[in-house]
C-alpha cells in the first residue's frame, strides 16, 4: 500500500463484524487492566487498600478485563470461534 484513497471494505459479514468488534475492544480492555494497576499502586501507597474492599474489587475488575482480552485475542487469532 503506497497511498491513495482507501475505500469501503467489501466484507461486512457477521464474522467480520465479530473480528472488528474484538479488534476495537481489545485496547480498551487492556487499558482497564492498566488503570487497575495504577489504582492499586496508588491505593497501596496511600495505605487505603488494607482496610477496605477496594483491592478485591480491583482484582475482580482485572480478571474480567483479562478475560475480555483473551476472548478477543482468540477471535482475532483464529478468525472465528471465541471458545
Amino acid at each position: 500500500m503506497t497511498g491513495g484513497q482507501f475505500g469501503m471494505p467489501a466484507d461486512r459479514s457477521p464474522d467480520m463484524l465479530v473480528r472488528e468488534l474484538c479488534h476495537d475492544l481489545i485496547e480498551s480492555a487492556a487499558a482497564i487492566g492498566i488503570f487497575v494497576r495504577l489504582a492499586d499502586t496508588e491505593a497501596t501507597g496511600a495505605g487505603l487498600a488494607a482496610g477496605c474492599q477496594l483491592r478485591s474489587r480491583l482484582e475482580g475488575i482485572a480478571a474480567a478485563a483479562g478475560q475480555i482480552v483473551e476472548i478477543c485475542q482468540r477471535v482475532l487469532e483464529q478468525g472465528g470461534e471465541p471458545r
Partner: protein, 222 residues
Amino acid sequence: MSADPCEAAPGQHRLHRTSHELKQLIAAVLFPAAAALEEPGLSPAVRRYLERIVWQGNWMADMIQDFLRQVQPGGMHQDARQSGTARGETVHAAIGGTDVMEVVNEAVALAALTWPGRATVESPPAPARCRLHPILLRRVIFNVLSNATRAAGPSGTVTIRIRREEDATMVSVSDSGPGFGKIPTGSGIGLAAAAGIIARYDGRIELGSDMGGGACVSLWLP
C-alpha cells in the same frame, strides 16, 4: 453479507453469542468499579482511575450495542445517531455534531498509557465538529492513532492536525515511522473498519506520506 440467509445465520449467532459473553464480562468490570467509587476515603487519584475504568466499560458496552444493531433486520446503521443511548449521546446531532477535538484528546490519552512516544495535536481555535456519532468517531480515531503509534515505535512521534474545510472537518494523522509498506502490517481490520464507518457518512480516507517519509492518513469527516 451472504446472499443466502441460511448461510448468514451461523455468523449472526456467533456475533450474538460473543457479544453476550463480552457484555457479561463488561458488567463484571462496571459493577465492582461503581461499588468501589462508593467506598469512603478514596484518594482523588484512585477515584480518577476508577472513573476511567467506568468510562472504558461504558464505551465497550456502547460499542457492542452498536455492532449488534448492524446485524438487526434493516441492517447497517440506518441512522447511526441512534447509537450510544447509555450516555445520552443521542442528542449529539441536535447540538451540532461530535466534538472532534474531544475524541482526539481521549484517543491520545489512551495511547499514552502504553506508548512512550510523543504525540502532538494541532487544532483550530474554534470547535471542529462532524456528523459521525461519538462511538463511531472514537472507533475511527482510536484505530488510526493506534496504527500510527505502532508504526512510529516507542521513540517516535505522531502529529495530529485538525482543521475545518468547507463542509467537513479534516483530521490528518502522520507518524515518524518508515511509511506505508515498509513495516510488517497489522491485521488491516482497524483501517478497513475506519474506512467503512467514514464511507457511511460520505466522508473519505486518504493514505499518503508525511514530508519526513512516514505515513499520513487523512480523514475527511462531513
